[in-house]
């Protein structure tokens, strides 16, 4: 998430000024991460609103005839896998803070894999539905949910992948520095990024639990 367009030819700053900008950069990652959660909340909330709106208006008694439900097996698998992804991101970050980049990268890569499997399953599930998209209000909102879930899973996997990849590159390029401790600016920005990332993953998991309950359990 961190970007910096620092161009050559500009006057140099004192170290104090550099540190000031560095902190602005780190706190931007923090603020940005939280604001992104806000944005995402409003998007998912539109789906939740639609679900309950159609459910309570039950136009023409066609909200959910015969209580059709999307295949539960898929639902449990997908949600389970994204839960694992979220947990891995969370635990990975914890381990990173405690000083183990190794653990973090194992957790993150596993998270990427579970996330991608969940993504694949989510796509496959769409061809195994027992109802047509337009057959009921539930069916429609379910399709909307599936699409948003695909987006969430892609973002989740992408963010996890880019953070580990970044950590690994820093290890390679910044000599003698471990991204978990180093005060090299790149390492500091990296840690802020991981923090924002794991926060977002936890948020996605919680939101995912709500949506899972709405579409598969209720």
């Amino acid at each position: 998430m961190s970007n910096s367009a620092i161009q050559s030819g500009q006057p140099s700053l004192s170290n104090e000024e550099r540190e000031y900008e560095m902190r602005a950069l780190i706190s931007s990652i923090w603020t940005g991460g939280r604001l992104f959660i806000g944005i995402y909340t409003f998007m998912l909330a539109s789906l939740v609103f639609s679900y309950f709106y159609l459910r309570s208006s039950d136009t023409g008694l066609l909200w959910r005839p015969d209580h059709v439900t999307a295949p539960r097996a898929f639902g449990f698998l997908i949600f389970g896998l994204s839960l694992v992804t979220g947990l891995l991101a969370y635990v990975g970050r914890k381990r990173l803070v405690m000083g183990s980049f190794q653990d973090f990268s194992v957790a993150a890569w596993s998270g990427v894999v579970t996330g991608l499997i969940a993504l694949l399953l989510q796509i496959i599930e769409l061809s195994h539905l027992s109802f047509y998209p337009g057959s009921s209000g539930y069916a429609s909102t379910f399709i909307g949910f599936a699409v948003m879930n695909i987006v969430s899973l892609v973002i989740s996997a992408y963010w996890l992948e880019t953070t580990v990849a970044r950590g690994m590159r820093i290890r390679r390029e910044v000599e003698g520095e471990n991204p978990e401790f180093s005060s090299n600016p790149r390492a500091r920005a990296f840690r802020a990024d991981v923090a924002a990332m794991s926060y977002f993953q936890v948020f996605l998991t919680l939101a995912g639990a709500l949506l899972f309950a709405m579409f598969y359990l209720m």
Binding site: T59, G60, L61, L62, P65, F131, Y132, G134, S135, S136
Partner: protein
């Protein structure tokens, strides 16, 4: 004069001058408005509802005029007296001018009181006027007494109305691309493309649509209600003297939206009864072919109104199962 304004008495001076002009202008403006404009303000006074809507508008306008005048007078005064050229010798006291507690607090109090008064007044008007002629959905919140009875009777085909009966007259408005038609459940449910209403009668418009959203705007009646497919949008009005009015569609409904209008009239009670009974008789053969009177008419999901699954078997739920019976109000 302007050089005096450097001291604090000068400040009072400016505001007092403006206030005097403002009070006079507002009073004159409001009086002129009330005499010359207010009686002609739309939607006129053809119905009780329209008359009340007009009164509300006029009250709002009489309150708005002083607000407009206040700002305009202040702006003109400021531009005239405080222009750069005119008072080049003025020096200003910096910090004192950054804020002024008294001004700020009184501004907030005045605006808040005005706004709360307006909201209270609007709500009161809405309630006492049974929804002010606006569409209130299938379960209206602010109803004239007897409306539920009349509406239930209409659905069961038992509604009655005759001159002098004081009964509420339910009328159904059906919007479709691009015309309005009207059904009279009290008279056997015949359908007409003319809208006639009896004088001195409370009308319950039941507005629905067969396709997209339209809006039934009976301008001089002070009635506006969206026509939604599958929804019965109810609006009330009470007619007074006979007169004619125009009906327009006021929600964009496609290409010919602009041409979706017709005229209607409030007739004397006997003339209305005469028209209704003759039309009922004349249309009897057609009425028999119409779907039974219901609050909404649902297009056939199997394709008649554009169902999504043309090879019939794919439509999983037969609409006749769902919509066989009339819907409750």
């Amino acid at each position: 004069m302007t050089n005096k304004s450097t001291n604090s008495t000068g400040q009072v001076h400016h505001l007092r001058r403006m206030a005097v002009v403002w009070v006079i202008a507002s009073i004159i403006g409001d009086i002129l408005f009330s005499i010359f404009v207010a009686p002609h303000v739309p939607p006129g006074r053809l119905t009780e509802t329209a008359a009340k809507d007009q009164t509300d508008f006029n009250i709002l306008f009489e309150m708005a005029l002083p607000v407009l005048f206040g700002v305009w007078i202040y702006l003109s005064y400021a531009l005239y007296f405080w222009g750069d050229k005119r008072n080049s010798d003025v020096a200003f006291s910096g910090d004192a001018a950054r804020s002024n507690m008294k001004t700020q607090v009184s501004w907030m109090v005045i605006t808040s009181v005005t706004v709360l008064f307006l909201a209270g007044f609007g709500t009161w008007a809405l309630v006492v006027d049974h929804g002010s002629g606006g569409g209130q959905g299938p379960n209206p919140a602010f109803t004239p007494s007897g409306s539920l009875k009349a509406e239930t009777a209409a659905l069961l085909g038992k509604a009655t109305w005759s001159p002098g009966s004081k009964n509420i007259l339910p009328v159904q408005v059906i919007g479709q691309q691009w015309k309005f038609t009207y059904r009279y459940p009290t008279f056997g449910g015949f359908e007409s493309s003319q809208l006639y209403l009896p004088a001195d009668t409370t009308i319950a418009f039941n507005v629905t649509s067969l396709d997209v959203i339209h809006s039934f705007w009976a301008y001089q009646l002070g009635v506006k209600a969206d026509a939604n497919p599958q929804v019965n949008d109810v609006a009330f009005t009470t007619t007074k003297d006979p007169g004619s009015f125009i009906v327009r569609c006021s929600e964009l409904c496609g290409i010919w939206h602009g041409a979706m209008y017709n005229n209607g009239a409030v007739l004397s009670q006997s003339a209305f009864e005469n028209w209704a009974t003759t039309t009922e008789a004349a249309n009897a053969a057609n009425t028999a072919l119409l779907p039974a009177f219901a609050w909404t008419y649902v297009p056939d999901a199997n394709g008649a109104a554009g169902g999504y699954y043309p090879d019939g078997t794919l439509t999983p739920y037969s609409p006749s199962e769902v919509y066989g019976s009339k819907q409750p109000s």
